[in-house]
């Protein structure tokens, strides 16, 4: 079932949590809502679920207005950040809950409930824990029970709020890969919220980057990473070097960096920012046309890539990542002056300032 969000706005007091957001999630996709805390991603998810009422706008499931339907009738599965398992019920009863509370006419017979729950517990690899209580489980196990419970009612849409937020790094890694595999198996339209850009890029078919209640960019993980639409997305998706400056007459002057920028052939200067990720900068010893000199301050050689910190002539930090082979060939020493050459710089020109108030000078 596809999800369509149209012009949804939600405010809490004077705080605008979700600001006129529209979004389309095609059937069977796994979509990540990612953004810093307070960006409105959880509010949007709760509005889709029906746990929160939007002040304006509509949510459509398979083209039908779901806003008028109560949470109970929406047919969504929701996985809460802190699992929200029923603590006085066994794992089995937790998963069976959604089937047991159905009106008698739609309630499956006990035998069917048992086989369905057992099947789901096998799916999340927890059938051996059916008689335990939530407090006897680890965090990862609880999260899987929560997922099985949400799937028991055969939801058309699966919504997950920071599903791995309170787990430690290793369990997170495992669970997110497992969620991806599970989704490939059952193909239910899913939306999950995360503040971890790595998680979003690794797991999702499509990533929605949110900031201050608005959507900054929607795209596949590759699109988002390779072609960030805004400076915010650029900065949010990992470490990046920012060079402040201006563009004029077909060239961008960004701090120590000066590169061609034919998109702005105009003579009037406009403020701009250049972004280059650490792996997009190269180090050398020869003078080049583009690039600048900087002093090597620190080397962190442990890991698949070597991380280097340099300072340009005005003392600004420049972060560079180099492959092991390239690093060993160059063999730089701390304190040495090196030429930093960008393979790629993304330039964002500031939008024209608001028209100044009309006055005698204008």
């Amino acid at each position: 079932m596809s999800i369509e969000v149209r012009g949804v706005t939600k405010t809490f007091g004077s705080f605008v949590a979700v600001n006129d957001v529209s979004l389309h999630v095609p059937t069977g996709e796994l979509v990540a809502l990612v953004g810093p805390s307070g960006s409105g991603k959880t509010s949007l998810l709760r509005i889709i679920a029906g746990l929160e009422q939007a002040d304006a706008g509509q949510v459509l499931f398979a083209g039908e207005d779901a806003t008028v339907r109560d949470v109970r009738q929406r047919g969504v599965g929701f996985v809460f950040q802190h699992y929200a398992l029923f603590r006085h019920m066994s794992v089995f009863e937790n998963v069976a809950f959604g089937l047991r509370v159905r009106p008698r006419a739609r309630r499956p017979p006990e035998g069917q409930i048992r086989s369905r729950v057992t099947e789901l517990l096998k799916l999340v690899q927890l059938d051996w824990l059916a008689d335990r209580y939530p407090s006897q489980l680890s965090g990862g196990q609880r999260q899987r029970v929560a997922l099985a419970r949400a799937l028991a009612v055969e939801p058309q849409v699966l919504l997950l709020d920071e599903p791995f937020g309170s787990l430690d790094a290793k369990v997170r890694q495992e669970l997110r890969r497992w969620l991806r595999r599970l989704h490939d198996e059952i193909h239910v339209t899913s939306v999950f919220v995360t503040h971890d850009q790595e998680e979003a890029l690794e797991v999702a078919d499509r990533v929605v980057v949110m900031n201050q209640g608005r959507i900054e960019q929607v795209g596949t993980p590759q699109e988002i990473f390779d072609r960030p639409a805004t400076p915010f997305v650029m900065g949010f998706l990992g470490v990046v070097n920012v060079f402040h400056g201006r563009v004029e007459a077909g060239r961008a002057h960004l701090g120590p960096l000066s590169v061609d920028y034919p998109e702005h052939a105009d003579e009037t200067a406009r403020p701009a920012q250049g972004f280059a990720r650490p792996h997009e900068l190269e180090l050398g010893r020869e003078e080049t046309d583009d690039g600048f000199w900087a002093t090597l301050r620190y080397v962190s050689p442990a890991g698949a890539v070597v991380k280097l910190e340099l300072a340009d002539d005005e003392g600004r930090l420049v972060q560079v990542e180099s492959t092991r082979a390239a690093f060993e060939e160059l063999h730089p020493v701390v304190g040495e002056r090196l030429r930093v050459r960008p393979r790629q710089v993304r330039i964002f020109v500031a939008p024209p300032a608001e028209a100044p108030p009309k006055g005698p000078g204008a």
Partner: protein, 283 residues
């Protein structure tokens, strides 16, 4: 051999145990024994006679009736109020919490006086009540009202912190899974609060049966009509009928012991069924 950090020398252990036991004996066991000893002072026959006396029976009936009305009313109110306070956001919430505590803050005698001032002959609502044929002062409905007032906070005060700590996550989860309001309450909320609720009911019941001050003011002490057990004890005592007074008092003490035994029994059974009820988990 090393001593555990909590291991005290034998004489300290003995001393502390004796102090605790001595205190309990002096303030709890001794009075209880005294009540029963005094009650049985003139033999078993006199004891039974004091209890079978019509005035005593009438007082017992009235006490049970008051408790039978006050406790369920309190449960309904307490659950509703704590549900509203813990699960919803609304203006005036803090004021409501303070108001619920009010009956604990004022002396029960004052609470009784309030009802006289409101519904008595010269009271604010007195003429109105009289015109509608309602007799609220020096009558059974008045006793029930006064008892309701003083026992008002018991269940709510037990449940509010419990429900606030539990949050609304489980209820939301149940709602998304398709449960109706009543199903959520019965299958999710109630099991989470049942021990607190039970404890509130026991405290409320004990107070409803034992309340003296407020009830004394509104009762008017009409024998056989508006006397509860505590009031009956006082009357007998003031008439120097000590044996009968203690016999009736022993009945109250007995009711208290039964409540206590019930509480222990239910806790024991519940504890056996759900060993991890104490552990809310780590998240």
């Amino acid at each position: 051999m090393t001593k555990a950090a909590t291991r005290e020398p034998a004489h300290v252990q003995l001393l502390l145990t004796l102090a605790a036991l001595g205190f309990i004996g002096l303030f709890l066991v001794l009075p209880l024994v005294a009540v029963f000893a005094q009650a049985l002072e003139k033999g078993w026959d006199a004891y039974v006679a004091a209890l079978r006396e019509p005035m005593a029976l009438s007082a017992l009936r009235l006490t049970l009736l008051t408790a039978a009305i006050a406790v369920p009313a309190n449960v309904v109110f307490g659950v509703a109020a704590s549900w509203a306070i813990a699960k919803f956001q609304f203006p005036g919430k803090d004021a409501l919490i303070t108001l619920i505590d009010l009956p604990f803050g004022v002396s029960p005698v004052i609470s009784g006086m309030v009802f006289i001032l409101l519904f008595g002959r010269q009271g604010l609502l007195g003429p109105w009540a009289e015109a509608h044929g309602l007799k609220l002062v020096f009558s059974v409905p008045g006793l029930v009202l006064a008892t309701l007032f003083v026992t008002f906070p018991f269940v709510a005060r037990e449940l509010i912190p419990l429900m606030q700590a539990a949050g609304t996550d489980e209820e939301e989860a149940a709602r998304v899974l398709g449960a109706s309001g009543f199903q959520i309450f019965r299958r999710v909320t109630l099991p989470n609060i049942k021990w607190g609720l039970l404890y509130g009911v026991i405290l409320c019941n004990a107070r409803a049966m034992g309340e003296f001050g407020a009830v004394s003011v509104v009762s008017g002490h009409i024998r056989g009509k508006t006397n509860t057990l505590p009031l009956h004890v006082e009357i007998l005592y003031n008439e120097y009928n000590f044996q009968a007074a203690f016999a009736v008092a022993s009945l109250l003490a007995f009711l208290a012991l039964v409540t206590l035994a019930l509480k222990t029994a239910i806790e024991w059974r519940g504890g056996a069924a759900l060993p991890q009820a104490e552990d809310p988990g780590v998240d």
